[in-house]
Each structure stands twice: as C-alpha cells, then as structure tokens.
Symmetry: C2
C-alpha cells in the first residue's frame, strides 16, 4: 500500500507518517518510482505510535513498543522494555503532578495574601 492508504487506515496524516519514519519508527520499502510501500503490519505500528503519543510519550519513547511488535508479538506492551517505558512515563507524570500541586499551593497562598491585604486596607 502507498503512504496515503496507510495514513487513512491508521488515522493519521501523510506528513505524520513521514515524520515517524524520520524518527526511525518505520522503514518502508520503495517502488521503482521511489514511492514508499507499506505492509499491513505498518498499519498496526502507526496506530500504536498514535496511541502512545496521545499518552504523552515522545516518538523516541515509543521505540521499545515498536520493537516489541516487530519481534512478532500481538501486543506492543508485553515486552519488558515496554513495561519499563510505561513505568518511566508514569513517573514523569507523577513528577509533573507534584510540581503542579506545589505550584498551586504557592499560587493560592499568594492569592489569599493579596485578597487579605485588600480587605485590610
């Protein structure tokens, strides 16, 4: 299949597919005229990348999942490296939530201070 077929089946744009390739996630063959040619497996790969990106992973962080698929697994997340990638992402999210929680506390304190100052005057 050609790139626009892959994009349509996977639910992404043609430009996104080329970007995934530039990140090393796809290695399509080429026809004699230079057109990229994709397999049914590539559809699965692109869907997986799309799903993982929506979870906030970077394209680079999806790498272990794609390797897991290419290794012949039905699911991209059953390999140890995929589990590690999940845990890494969860840790990132936890860190970010903690930062934001702290930030929120500082903001509310500033807000109440400023409000009190106003009633005081």
């Amino acid at each position: 299949m050609h790139i626009s077929d892959l994009a349509a089946e996977a639910g992404v744009t043609v430009k996104a597919v080329r970007y995934y390739e530039s990140q090393g996630l796809l290695k399509p063959g080429r026809e004699a005229n230079g057109y990229r040619i994709y397999s049914a497996e590539d559809v699965i790969v692109v869907r997986e990348v799309k799903a993982l990106l929506s979870l906030g992973l970077t394209a680079e962080q999806t790498y272990p999942f794609i390797e897991c698929l290419r290794a012949g697994n039905d699911r991209a997340d059953v390999c140890p490296a995929s589990l590690t990638a999940y845990r890494t992402r969860i840790a990132e999210v936890d860190r970010r939530i903690a930062e934001l929680t702290d930030l929120r506390a500082r903001l509310t304190e500033l807000l109440t201070d400023a409000e009190n100052w106003r009633t005081k005057v």
Copy 2:
C-alpha cells in the same frame, strides 16, 4: 542605570531584560548614545516578572501585575486584574492536574493489563 546594572540587581540576564521589553513590559528611556536607561522602579518590575514567570505565567500574563505597579501600588498583586490573573493561572493548573491525573489512570491500567497478560501466558 544601564541594562547590565538592572539585570544584575534584578537577578536576570541582559537578554532577558531585552526580551521583557520586546513583550512590552519595560519602556526604558535612551541616552544620547542610544544606551537604554532604567529607573529603580524597573528593578522592581523585573523582579516581579521573574517571580511570576517562575509561577508559570507567560510574559503576557504578567501584564496586569506590571500595570498595577506602575499605577503606584507597593505590591503588584493588589489590583483586581492581578487577582483575576492569579485565579486564571490557578484554573489552568487545576485543568492540567486533572488531565495528568486522568492520563496517569490510563497509563496504570495499561501497565497492569500488560503485566497480567504476561503472567497469564
């Protein structure tokens, strides 16, 4: 005072000061030779901007605080617009925390699913 004096007193870089100016937060006068010239009030302004940026506000969002200072107030956050800006930022943080909390739930579910799949096989 010159730009490097202001930067040193406010604890930022010269480039940051020029950036704040490009965002409309500073309007320094000019000496005959073209050098920017700053007042003591500008030091306060830059310190305020620095503090607000560290709270995750954008340069644009610091605008009401600076206006509040320039209006002659001792504190940048005692004006109604500043309080509104605080509340807006708190709401942003809350929304972001909610997003991340939801994301975390999805990630942990995927993780435990994948772990269970492995023990099942």
